[in-house]
């Protein structure tokens, strides 16, 4: 085709831009230009042949079987994954539940009462009064509180001759000593919890046999791996105490 006007027209026509007037312009041009008309027919024929030829590809022998076989092999794998995952998760949940159940039973029916006298003996307890305390409570109030609210026999540190706020004590001590120096023991009796904070610097007999201890501090749990060494510094109290409770208020 040696028709310069038609060339641009054809290329644009091929692009089929939306809203383009090129197809109509091309058709009108071909109506009057026999060369272009023939060329277009031959081109369309060639392109049609080309499309057909593109589709003619020899299929390798046994391809279908191989595809199906590999798909079948992959299917169990695809499905085994979630199954395995579900099984693992179920097993983990079961183990977790069993551990929790054992812990719960031990706490409910086990010998969980704290013998502070014995503890004092084991741990060579030394009672300390945190320097940062500002809240007031009498010794008697503290003793009564622990006895009545937690049914715990409490031997108060001799240095506590004046006043305490045990919640503040906990925080005051844990923050500066958080790390390997402090351990927190959680003791339960019924629904009550008591926390014992240990400042570790001496070897303690591990007869009490508690490998892990947990204490709730500011709403989070502190896990301490080994409480088997150190001295008891002071006793602090449970979570769940009413927010407005102040030992000083009863004075």
């Amino acid at each position: 085709m040696d028709c310069p006007a038609a060339r641009a027209l054809w290329l644009e026509h091929q692009g089929q831009m939306p809203g383009s007037a090129a197809p109509e312009a091309w058709r009108l041009h071909c109506r009057d230009c026999r060369d272009c008309q023939m060329w277009e027919q031959q081109t369309r024929h060639f392109e049609s042949e080309l499309r057909d030829a593109m589709q003619h590809v020899a299929i390798p022998e046994g391809l279908q079987g191989r595809l199906l076989e590999r798909l079948e092999q992959s299917t169990p794998r695809h499905r085994a994954k979630p199954k395995r995952l579900h099984r693992t998760l179920a097993l983990a949940a079961l183990l977790l539940f069993a551990a929790w159940l054992a812990f719960f039973v031990d706490m409910q029916w086990g010998d969980s009462a704290i013998d502070l006298n014995a503890l004092e003996q084991w741990a060579k307890t030394r009672w300390t009064n945190p320097a940062t305390m500002t809240q007031d409570a009498t010794v008697r109030q503290i003793e009564v509180f622990f006895k009545q609210e937690h049914q715990l026999a409490v031997k108060l540190p001799p240095v506590i001759t004046r006043y305490w706020d045990f919640r503040l004590c906990t925080q005051a001590y844990l923050q500066p000593h958080h790390g390997d120096k402090l351990a927190v023991l959680e003791f339960r009796r019924g629904a009550s919890h008591a926390l014992v904070v240990l400042l570790r610097h001496e070897q303690v007999d591990s007869e009490h046999g508690m490998p892990y201890y947990r204490g709730e501090i500011k709403g989070s749990y502190l896990l301490v791996p080994s409480p088997t060494e150190g001295n008891i510094v002071f006793i602090v109290m449970k979570s769940g105490i009413p927010d407005d409770f102040r030992l000083a208020a009863a004075a």
């Binding site: 692009g15 030829a53 279908q64 992959s74």
Partner: protein, 166 residues
């Protein structure tokens, strides 16, 4: 179980078409088989996403195209011919009447640089229009038009030994 039956049925019905498409795109029997296999694997994973079951073939084609474009497109061929600027002239020569030799066709396609070959196959094999090709390849429409025109001209020259000029 029903899913397995479905994918098996798709393989039986469409494996040949998909293989041909993969072969034209990749130019290699081994790659074509891998691409076809991967296409069916993906189809199996995604069959829940097929909204119009009557268009499953087009859906499988689009998966295959994506598999090829994402993983195999950049594999460099050994002989890739650059297309000269004046090859467009060939487009306006009258095509010959001789039937197209299929072996020569694949050889010509294999020698074509990927940026020209892929649009050409999408156009002739997949029957995509310029807009569809532009979207699939993330190219401007003008670029697609230009590449296709050059690729067509090149193909015509390779497939016709003695074209007569009108």
């Amino acid at each position: 179980m029903a899913e397995t039956r479905t994918i098996t049925e798709w393989v039986r019905r469409y494996y040949a078409d998909l293989y041909r498409y993969a072969y034209r795109l990749s130019g290699s029997m081994n790659l074509a088989e891998d691409i076809t296999q991967e296409t069916f694997c993906k189809a199996q994973e995604k069959q829940g996403q097929l909204r119009r079951p009557e268009r499953v073939k087009a859906w499988l084609y689009s998966i295959l195209r994506n598999v090829y474009l994402q993983r195999y497109r950049r594999l460099k061929r050994v002989h890739e011919v650059p297309l000269e600027g004046d090859c467009l002239e060939m487009l306006f020569e009258a095509p010959g009447e001789a039937p197209i030799d299929e072996e020569a066709l694949q050889k010509a396609l294999n020698d074509l640089a990927e940026e020209f070959r892929t649009p050409l196959i999408l156009f002739y094999f997949d029957d995509m229009d310029y807009r569809g090709i532009a979207e699939a390849l993330d190219l401007p429409m003008g670029t697609v038009m230009s590449r296709l025109a050059r690729a067509k001209a090149y193909l015509r020259r390779r497939l016709q030994s003695s074209p007569s000029v009108v």
